[in-house]
Symmetry: C2
Subunit: 433 residues, 2 copies
Amino acid sequence: MKITSQLADFAAQTQSHDIPAPALRMMQLSLLDWAAVGIAGHDEPVSRLTRDMVLAEGGVPQASLIGHATKVPARAAALVNGATSHALDYDDTHFAHIGHPSVAVIPAALAVAQARGLDAAAFQVAALIGVEASIRIGIWLGRDHYQTGFHQTGTAGAFGAGLAAARLMGLDAAGCAMVLGLLATRASGLKSQFGTMGKPFNAGLAAANGVEAADLVARGFIANPDALESPQGFGPTHAGQNRSEGLQSIGKEWMFESVSHKFHACCHGLHAALEACLILAPLKAGQIARIEVATHPRWMTVCNQTEPMTGLGAKFSYGTVLAMQILGHDTAVLDSYSAAVCVDPAVQALRARVQVRADDSVAETAARVRIVLQDGNSLDATHDLNAPLSPDLRQQKLQTKARSLLGAERADKLWSRITAQDDIEGFADYLLP
Amino acid sequence: MKITSQLADFAAQTQSHDIPAPALRMMQLSLLDWAAVGIAGHDEPVSRLTRDMVLAEGGVPQASLIGHATKVPARAAALVNGATSHALDYDDTHFAHIGHPSVAVIPAALAVAQARGLDAAAFQVAALIGVEASIRIGIWLGRDHYQTGFHQTGTAGAFGAGLAAARLMGLDAAGCAMVLGLLATRASGLKSQFGTMGKPFNAGLAAANGVEAADLVARGFIANPDALESPQGFGPTHAGQNRSEGLQSIGKEWMFESVSHKFHACCHGLHAALEACLILAPLKAGQIARIEVATHPRWMTVCNQTEPMTGLGAKFSYGTVLAMQILGHDTAVLDSYSAAVCVDPAVQALRARVQVRADDSVAETAARVRIVLQDGNSLDATHDLNAPLSPDLRQQKLQTKARSLLGAERADKLWSRITAQDDIEGFADYLLP
């Protein structure tokens, strides 16, 4: 069976009541996280620039913008909210997809759901189906696609966004296939933008392209419905590996359940050490003689600045972030990483006692931490970011992160709204500043 | 020198007074042609669907839509006008570029010029620079890019559209380079859409992407300014051949001067025979015993229907179009190709006397025609579409085509407006139905 047909059937025919509760719960958690990191990033330059562009264009008030009270057309809202929610690179990641599923798909689903006055349950199901499809397409395109230079967040993401939008517009399987075919000529995104505003922009492109394609197909647009996979289709022309394993068990297993979330607003290379150290908490700085970190060698040149003096430098410093965490600075909050924290005597004293060494027996996603106490005892902990996280613990950690970013009251009300599935506009209202 | 720098310098620094008159005249001729084929195509399905989408979005009235009195934001107008002007596939073509330069670039330049209230001279110069750049990039990407499955009209076209827009926005060379870099992550277009609405849509994508990128860079967007040509940039990731000859003599020679125009609203394979036959005109049907056509073998399976019964069939029939031309039907007009003409006894009688044979000594772009008269004499003519056309003859032929499509009065007034360079809104008014 062609993958276009499988994906189109999946998007059009999956019944809400067939979706397992853990998959839907994961989407709700990612919604909370997406909203929190989006709001936290609403004033980043890429967010402001794309928002200013669509506000200058104006148009029918169909869908909400993160961080601004004016509504804009759905296609424009998707563009801005995709870029905005990926601006901090603090959103969820799926390692098999090799991309960021939520920032490409949720903005498209939300914009269409608002534009069409649909309910929150339909929105959440469509977003879940969209991210699941984008993960499957990311796997189908494969690592060659990524290594060649394409950015699955933008490319595979567009197809997922398009299917989410198509489902919300009520397109049948043939319509969903047409959306995939049209997106074959539109989807884009290069890794060579990494380190610039172009990276978060790729997420916005995916979302906007998805809304646009679904809208046009809903109006009767005829594209080549085989163009995702045909000989000169998107996959073959974009170094796609055509890995059929991407489609295995679609609709039966939900790969989105293995999405990863970030719990610290710093370089990903530091997260495993922070999590390992958390296992040993709470500790007082005065108890600690030294902290030994064993990490994969690749991180030594990435995030082992020993005496950073800026907020940005702090985000790439084992010593600084571990000291911050032990001293009670919230590592989930962007503003915690500041020049001030770098010159704080307590931070400086503690980070001087952090010793980092490369160990190629440690996975890239892991760290081993030993805390040697003043009394001569020592505590050991290991963490691997790939280790499964129980749903309850993940929820607890994501709620903590959301409270750090939004304030406790707002974060808790937002979570209630998401789980109640009661009102899409009520959810969208939480995106305003 | 990097091609990004060359292109950026070319777009930002070329002075209007340095542009040779023949190049500007060619742009003016293409403007006339672009407007004529755009208006003729304004009611095609792809035109209506994309127009309906942006009209439903609404927004600030910045720029005109072909065939509709409502103005829309510049980015939206570029999308619709690109698709609309390519809907009939009756617009200009550049064989070295391997694409359609005007439909990607003119809509972007016009939309930005209108949105910014610029004058017609600046618009025409920017459009010329944009098409010239798109041709150079098309050559730089090369035939491998096309053969792999990419559609230069959409891909190279976006970069040309972006440079035209950037120039009109007053960006300097660094800004123009940034526009190229941002477009690297946005430009798209696949040939696998050929035969569907996706093909003309690719022209709209190019135009809209160009406006969007220039607008964002004008606001301060930071992309990777090397992303057109860097190791994982657009060229290397899209089967680009990196043919530096594309950049040779840029700013000194104007390759747009060798653009081709279509003078008949039928399959391109028939055009050389029609032109050869025109050399022998006028002839009365009654004088003709038979017409012998020698054509390249590839066309035998493409456009040699002997007894078509529909308008579409007529467009792929040597016998029918030659009979139509001799009998005075205007082959430049779309409506001439009808079921009625197929059953016209005079057409049927004459097309029965047309004999087509394959001859691999004839170029793909050429045809040899021999008309054997009833009196036993015969007339011979050969035409190659690649043969240079004198500017005056080209102007005469394009004005004839525009009159056929728009009516003589409107076509002549439009041409006066273009050559007077007096008022951009005055030009745009001619795009309305």
